[in-house]
Amino acid sequence: MTASFLRRVRVAEVEPVASRIKRFRLVSADGEPLSEFSGGSHVTVCMQAPDRLIRNPYSLMSCPSDTSSYQIGVLKVPDSRGGSEFMHENVSIGTELEISEPLNLFPPAKLARKHILVAGGIGITPFMSMMSELESVGADFELHYGVRSLAEGAFCKLLETRYGPRVHLYFQDKGQLVPLEQVLASQPLGTHVYVCGPKPMIDWALRSATLAGWPDENIHSEQFTAPPIGKPFVARLVRTGREVTVGGHQSILEALEQNGIDAPFLCRGGACGQCETAVTSCDGFIEHNDHYLTEAEKADGRKIMICVSRISGDAITLDL
């Protein structure tokens, strides 16, 4: 199943909220109201660049029950293949875009007694909708948000006004770091911790929670994985009998799409499992970049998540 079920939206508002972050407000352009969503959801935004179609996932930041518009916050990433830059440079009020229906791979645990949200940088976005939801059901939560500086920190003021003492901000330029060890040391039984931010921060937070004696079941994270770059290689498709070249700045999925070949996907971030593809043979090494396959499956090499993983080598043969 492909995410061909798209909604047309129009940009109603663009606001620079920090030095490299813009907030976009999207309203329905097809007359039908947008659907409600659950806290932590994201949508895939399709952007028609001159030379290709870019599809990037972005977390929804607005209040989940507000169906009049969706909001996303986009960080401009330097040296990228261009999606975030496109949003910053080419998208303005009135631009029409296509988005997928919301998908949630980072929901709050409904059975938790308390929620500790740990965000770094742009990783704040999924927590914006999550906090609206938690607030509306009267759940106990606190946010620990680390930013480089006030200028780079999006939504600091907004968050403090809205949630008061439940929000804790840490500014790197002032030498402040999230004191995770203390935060985790004294939480009531049944507390869950959620992390979203740069990969090193996620790794550090997960390790800290484990070292503090927290069970895996209480630890959650979402990483904004984008397909990493590499060297070009060839993908051979057994069932369709075709052969496509995957460019150094392309994922396998993107290369297939560019060649008009339909392959299933949902999150495009290596998390949902939808694009799992059987590997018939591989002339080289698979670089697994997903969070879906188990370590054993990765070592085994018989499956690949084509939205984010690639190979170093000449060619891979896929059951497609």
């Binding site: 059975l111 938790a112 004294s186 039984l189 070292l211 004696g213 069970p215 209480n218």
Partner: protein
Amino acid sequence: MAVSGIKSRPVYPGLSPDPNARSNVVVCDVAGAEAVVELLTRADGAFARRTSIILSADGAGSEQAQALAKRLEPAGVEIASGLPAAISHLNAILDQASMGLRLYAAGSEPLIGSVVQAGLDHFIDHLSIRTEHRGSLKRRVQCVHCKGMTEDVTTNPVTCSHCGLLLLVRDHYSRRLAAFQGVCINAESPGERPEPNVEFP
């Protein structure tokens, strides 16, 4: 109705120490205490000192219980007269606990089931509770018809201790009820009373 080989049967992977836990709480019965002794030998003394054990003595003499407690040192041991007393002691600990506590259970299935239930009441995910089955295979059975619980069931079929129907004990298990399902065995052949076999000694 008469089917077996059901996949909702819980699995008990065995006890293993969580070296990172700030405190460990273990509930066991006399048979399960052997698994706890093994657990402690697999960890260091510091682990044992962070560990409190609730031993459900279940009719074992106080001498036997004391001797077991001795073998579990230097962990702290609390001897409870039976399962209900052990669980109410556990509840008192969990009421006050914070994150960093790791829960373990070792012994019969009704004991493990009751510990998992207490854990759920305190927001502990059942997957984070480390469990090991030891000793009797006896089961707690819920009659699907009258909803009454029959304790310490060793035979199949078994007579419901509440409504008196003769029940086939299925392998279908409810964590929320900490019980297996019992279904009338002779609904389609009233009067027939299959002989009970000792299936869960």
